[in-house]
Symmetry: C2
């Protein structure tokens, strides 16, 4: 495959050298298409001609940082054979992270949820090279990323190298957020990577083996077998549920004397667990955990984690108390990675908590750099910022007054450019934009067929309150990766026939439609073959049926047939033989 492609490429580039005119035309298309999409204002047309000669032998270099959901989804959907793609990541595999809580207790094996990234990209009909290394610096001036090997073996670790890019796709994900709570990094387990899950698995068995020793007192047994989960989000809840199943279904049979010492506590600083879900789900989950004997403790913040106890502060009373524990898993949300933080300072985003991109996933303030997934958020443009520009675009005859009819041409562009408008229409149960313009107005204005700028502003004043940032989920990251890949695939096409909305502040249209997230629903597995599912259209399902939906959705979403068969095999094995408790 690769061999034959090389041959084709060599033949093609020889053809270019023989017929220089043809070559230039082709290259102009490719480069200007790419450049314009990436950052349409920075690349004067002259440059294109200047680069052309060189570009006959040089493909556009795309560097992807990270092989998580966003990066892998980007790579899988990328099809443009005129690109030279390099991937840099400390993991040489993609991990199906939604199954990590299952990996912590051996319901599913770690190796069943990973797929080597080289396996994923080797089917591409263009060159993708992977480098197992960590990016520690992004240099936008020279368009380079600085990387170093993460290996610490006799193979000389830490050697550094740089990779040049024309386009950079940052998809490095996030780190676990400790909120600077002292002792967390030293004493708690996180649950973000496959290695974390494997460490947790070993640690659970460690606790049980330790509590089996004759030299351990009763109190110490209780402490060692107290498992604490900090954070009542979907990951923390799923982990607590999986752990409960593991204890009940498997460990109790092997360590029957220890059952009475075992407890699980779920700590949540807010008032409820699963607060991002529908209230029915929250209630169901809290009720189920109560029945299962999992202590759910809401309204208390962790202020310190020492090697044997957690200091809790009651939010309502301000009281502090100590909770002895054997193992603690920390799952309270995400924070920005240091290398991304550095990069943000470099590009003038130093005062933000999370890196900002525009609706086309371009990092604000830097040409040719994109950011996907958990490492960035989309900084949505407010309608009110652009309100004058929108008004004047619609007001073609510059009369200072708008007929409702004048909007016909721009309504769709507005809705496409500003997703909050549609959300606002939905929440107010308004049929269309015209109704929106008529809302918030006095009766006289409603009847009037014309609007001035003040009335226009008034009509749209509440729209921006509907803006909300996307959740840091696999679903968002995967959709962003796919979106960006499709933009890259159609660069040339869309440069010629832009398909995006009108540029209200500029002339012309955007080349692409902005990224729009489609929420397909979310699961919260609660253990004991029960799951809560919240699907689009406020459809909520809880119990055994939803668990089977969960099985089928996750099996179908897995990245390859190999992982699919392995995961289904693991599920079957678990039903027949239970989970393995060997400490490896």
């Amino acid at each position: 495959m690769r061999g034959s492609y090389y041959t084709f490429y060599q033949k093609a580039s020889n053809a270019f050298r023989d017929h220089l005119t043809f070559s230039k035309i082709l290259v102009v298309c490719t480069i200007s298409g790419g450049g314009l999409v990436a950052y349409s204002d920075v690349r004067p047309f002259n440059n294109v001609y200047a680069d052309a000669a060189q570009a006959t032998i040089k493909k556009k270099k795309v560097v992807v940082l990270g092989t998580g959901w966003a990066g892998t989804s980007f790579l899988k959907n990328l099809k443009d054979p005129s690109l030279d793609v390099q991937v840099v990541s400390p993991c040489n595999y993609f991990a199906f992270t939604p199954l990590l809580p299952s990996v912590t207790v051996g319901t599913v094996e770690a190796r069943s949820v990973v797929e080597p990234i080289r396996n994923i990209v080797k089917k591409k009909d263009f060159d993708v090279r992977f480098k197992e290394a960590e990016c520690f610096k992004i240099d936008t001036v020279n368009q380079k990323v600085h990387c170093k090997s993460i290996q610490n073996t006799n193979v000389d670790g830490n050697q550094e190298f740089t990779v040049d890019y024309d386009y950079l796709v940052i998809a490095m994900g996030a780190r676990a957020n400790t909120f600077n709570t002292p002792g967390v990094v030293e004493n708690a387990h996180f649950l973000k990577e496959v290695e974390d899950a494997l460490r947790i698995r070993r640690s659970i068995i460690d606790c049980f083996e330790r509590a089996s020793l004759p030299s351990v007192s009763e109190d110490e047994k209780k402490r060692i077998l107290h498992f604490v989960v900090v954070g009542g989000g979907p990951t923390g809840v799923e982990f607590a549920a999986e752990l409960h199943d593991f204890l009940l279904e498997d460990l109790v049979k092997l360590y029957p004397d220890l059952e009475k010492y075992t407890t699980i506590t779920l700590l949540e600083a807010g008032d409820h667990i699963l607060s991002m879900f529908d209230k029915r789900i929250t209630d169901f989950a809290e009720e189920k955990f109560k029945r299962d004997g999992i202590n759910v403790k809401t309204g208390s913040m962790v202020v310190k984690v020492s090697d044997k106890s957690i200091s809790l502060k009651e939010r309502s009373t301000g009281e502090t108390k100590d909770l002895p524990y054997g193992m603690v898993v920390w799952s309270t949300g995400i924070g920005t990675r240091p290398v991304v933080m550095d990069f943000m300072k470099q590009i003038g985003q130093g005062n933000r908590r999370v890196m900002a991109t525009d609706e086309w996933l371009r990092v604000e303030g830097v040409p040719n750099v994109y950011a996907l997934g958990d490492c960035a958020t989309i900084n949505q443009r407010k309608v009110m910022e652009d309100i004058s520009a929108i008004f004047s675009k619609a007001d073609k005859n510059k009369s200072g007054k708008l007929n409702v009819g004048d909007f016909a041409e721009v309504i769709n562009d507005i809705i496409e450019r500003y997703p909050q408008v549609e959300l606002h229409l939905k929440s107010k149960k308004l049929k269309n934009f015209v109704e929106l313009l008529q809302s918030n107005q006095d009766d006289a204005a409603k009847k009037a067929t014309q609007l001035d700028i003040e009335k226009f502003k008034k009509a749209l004043s509440e729209v921006d309150t509907k803006m909300k940032s996307l959740p840091p989920t696999a679903q968002v990251a995967a959709q962003q990766g796919e979106y960006l890949a499709k933009c890259f695939n159609r660069m040339k096409e869309c440069e010629e026939n832009p398909e995006g909305p009108i540029r209200f502040r500029d002339s012309g249209r955007h080349h692409f439609k902005p990224f729009r997230y489609k929420h397909l629903g979310q699961f919260a597995p609660l253990g004991g073959e029960q799951t809560a599912a919240q699907l689009p259209g406020d459809w909520v399902s809880m119990g055994y049926g939803a668990q089977w939906l969960w099985y089928s959705v996750y099996a179908s979403k897995l990245v390859s047939w190999r992982t699919r068969i392995l995961v289904i095999g693991d599920w079957g094995r678990r039903f027949i033989f239970g989970r393995d408790s060997s400490k490896i």
Copy 2:
């Protein structure tokens, strides 16, 4: 199960307290049976009565150190419900070690070849308690073993405790033998434990990822991708073959640019690899490795291993040269563990290299302590040591002359007590013991119907040359474990009706037949779906057929249905999807 047993036991011991006479009788049987088997001379009959009152509530404590082949086989076969068994081992699982070379490259997953020891023993109808700890001292005076936890977590590692024993079964296995070669421990991988196999797997992928980095020179790539195996025994050869298959079938597809840099070298100090096998197998293996491009380098000793190169000394010329490498696996045989070495000093075996037991697996010089598997060898009694005793037992009328007919009664005992006799008969193609007595004699003596002691000695003079120690294999360890468990199960029975051979130096018979190893054959997988098999009766098979024999034998030998199905599943997965190269 366990609960109901307790109830039975309590009822039974209450019954004993109510009817003290009955209790005493029962306990006498149990204790004297046990004691006599373990060390028949040390326990005067008085003691039995003195201990009886206490023993009504105290079961005999058996402590097993280790959960390898010997220990696990012992536990699986133990059936005597009057025992209180404790198992101490740093691994809470049994590993099917013959598949470890397959685990190093992911042909089989680590978790498929292990079974939690608690799973194995929970089906027992008597109490077996497992402690995950390391024994660091054996105290034969107070009949205690000193243990410490091996955990290094927030669960306070290194806490120490002791376990009392009445019988101690040492089955701790051996450590890898470095022959004190400098740098081996620091730089080489061993292949004895599951963790070793996992480390090797990661290390192979590390080398390939490292060699893919742009900052690595051509020479460095060659070095990094040079895999060296030291030791041409079955393990080293199988690992080299598995590694070759992994490179050829899987890694070459994912790292096509690196194929030309990859080499495998197998170093052997002797003249041939697989020297313990039939010459046909050795030749076949060397020929196959040559065809496969695996460098087999015999006759060179490793004198030093640094972090990047191995110093070799040519045995014939004495020349030394350096061999740069990326990864080295050391598999040159076994040595005694430090704790066993300490124990040997304590019991007067300090000048030996390996701990000695007698033919009943009792450690020489210590009552009630047994040793199985790789941590000990059987120190076989020489016929010539006992020759006068044998002669006088046979010479019933004390005439100083033996009729050949006098032997009828003791021939079988001699053959049973001294396994070398049978081996000698076989090797000399003698039909029976009478023919042996007639061999080595002059014609006059052959015709004579009587032998004096000198002639008797002459007849048996060559017999002891046939003694050979057993190989350190899983097969030997498993048979020893089973043998010892059966002795424990039948202690009472065999004390009453001894079934062993006559005690030539003492009066009476041995309670049990001595341990006798049955060799069932040995495999040497050579890669590419070919295996060499050497079966009893000098039957040798090489090639694809033997590989299928290997598959079926290993699948049938696996410890549980769970592991059996998992391993077969792994083999199937490998055929369909290949081996996984994710670095976890």
